[in-house]
């Protein structure tokens, strides 16, 4: 494509610093991007097909002719990476395909399945109670993000993995770099390496101790590394992935959900008065807020037709979850937040074999966190105007940097 033609293409993801945090794309952006399939320019000057409709996003993410491996030539990257930036990629199965992906994912599926998450609900509850005590003691006023939304999922995932929560400043900062599209490439490289080194030491200590500790990393060390099924480096990569995915995501959902519920006090009150509807409310929050807003990138490995567009082997595509979640063909009045709609078809966790492995955990954390917040802080309100709230606009996981509240 000639340079002129390239600059004619709309830039994805769109930059809009005054965006309402609750609106993934404004009306103008929707006109520009909601295709069904549109050609866009990425910040790396690569081009890609943007796939925006619910049915097409499902078809694409379930199709074996698309790869999630970002080291393949032509993969639609959203940021430039320093050479070797991702360092040792072993264990990072979110970026693997086929049998390689299945082999590692299957070592974890049982750990995060619904019945096991039900077993750890008491731990989630205790952690919610504890972090809400901290919120109470910190204010009023207080920042809900740093005192509640972020510590809760961080503490839970640390406990499950067997990572010391005391190191949270270290791994939270590095996690954030890894998912920040604006982070300088050299910093990304360094932070990936530091996080890997940190978890490497932890994992090696667990392997050496052969210890009886009942946390996920110790179990994997015992059941998979000791048996020769899994290399230590792979376990380290899995630990990095779980630690990052396990706290940034849920934390951002709690912050944005609180903002949304507090804009309509009746909804917030309904959480307290009708907790039986909390599961449906959480599905609708996931649909409406869709925090992975930049979409899921894939590379076509064969020619495939999606939404009437022939996508050729070697071309990049982006599956846009936020527009799929507001597709009028699936959701009535999609721009409206309706806690009583059945939103189970929402795609906030993705689709296909990479669909979020932590979804039962995320759902339980969100439900318990929001119900307890509404119960214990009935008079909670936001003290900043929406336009003034710092957002993680350059992150691939969207969220609020801060949510000042009082009660």
């Amino acid at each position: 494509m000639t340079p002129a033609a390239l600059t004619d293409l709309p830039l994805w993801p769109p930059l809009n610093l005054t965006r309402d945090p609750l609106v993934p794309l404004d009306a103008g952006e929707r006109r520009r991007f909601v295709g069904p399939v549109t050609r866009v320019r990425l910040p790396t000057d690569a081009t890609a097909w943007l796939v925006t409709r619910h049915a097409d996003v499902r078809q694409l993410l379930r199709h074996p002719g698309f790869s999630a491996d970002l080291t393949r030539p032509g993969f639609p990257l959203l940021r430039r990476l320093a050479p070797g930036a991702l360092g040792d990629r072993r264990g990072g199965f979110i970026r693997m395909d086929g049998a390689e992906h299945a082999r590692l994912r299957r070592m974890l599926t049982a750990e995060f399945m619904i019945k096991n998450v039900r077993r750890i609900e008491p731990l989630i509850r205790q952690t919610v109670d504890r972090t809400l005590d901290d919120l109470r003691d910190a204010g009023p006023p207080a920042d809900l993000v740093t005192t509640f939304a972020l510590p809760l999922p961080s503490m839970v995932i640390c406990h499950l993995l067997g990572v010391p929560y005391a190191d949270h400043d270290f791994f939270q900062e590095r996690s954030r770099t890894l998912i920040d599209r604006d982070a300088p490439p050299e910093r990304v490289r360094r932070h990936v390496q530091e996080l890997r080194d940190y978890l490497q030491r932890l994992v090696e200590a667990k392997v050496a101790a052969g210890d009886r500790t009942d946390d996920l990393l110790s179990r994997l060390a015992r059941d998979r590394v000791d048996t020769g099924e899994l290399a230590v480096d792979e376990l380290v990569g899995m630990a990095v992935l779980l630690l990052i995915a396990g706290h940034e995501t849920t934390a951002n959902m709690i912050g944005l959900s609180t903002l949304l519920l507090l804009r309509h006090p009746a909804r917030y009150a309904a959480l307290r008065d009708d907790p039986g509807n909390a599961d449906a409310l959480v599905e609708e929050l996931l649909r409406y807020l869709t925090i992975v807003r930049t979409g899921l990138p894939r590379l076509a490995t064969e020619d495939v037709e999606i939404g009437g567009q022939l996508i050729r082997a070697g071309e990049g595509v982006i599956a846009v979850l936020s527009t799929a979640n507001r597709d009028p063909a699936v959701f009535d009045r999609p721009e409206e937040f309706d806690p009583y709609r059945a939103a189970q078809q929402q795609l906030a966790f993705g689709f296909g074999v990479h669909q979020c492995i932590g979804q039962p955990l995320a759902r339980a954390e969100l439900r318990i966190a929001l119900v307890e917040l509404a119960r214990r802080f009935p008079r909670l309100r936001v003290t900043a105007t929406a336009g003034r709230l710092p957002t993680r606009h350059s992150s691939i996981v969207y969220g609020l940097g801060e949510l000042p509240v009082t009660w």
Partner: protein, 65 residues
Amino acid sequence: MRLRVRVDRDRCCGSGNCVLTAPEVFDQDDADGLVLLRFTAPPPEVGERVRRAADLCPAGAISLD
């Protein structure tokens, strides 16, 4: 005609959507988290939810006939 359900454990990615949608019919294996069927011919009253589970399966591992 009663609905018949089949699952393909090779395709299953253990997302658990089926268990969330129709727990009477689907379960997950304690060993590997992959889908298990409680019934191959579920009672008609859960038919609608079984269809929904098949539709929500991200891996296309549930088929009905």
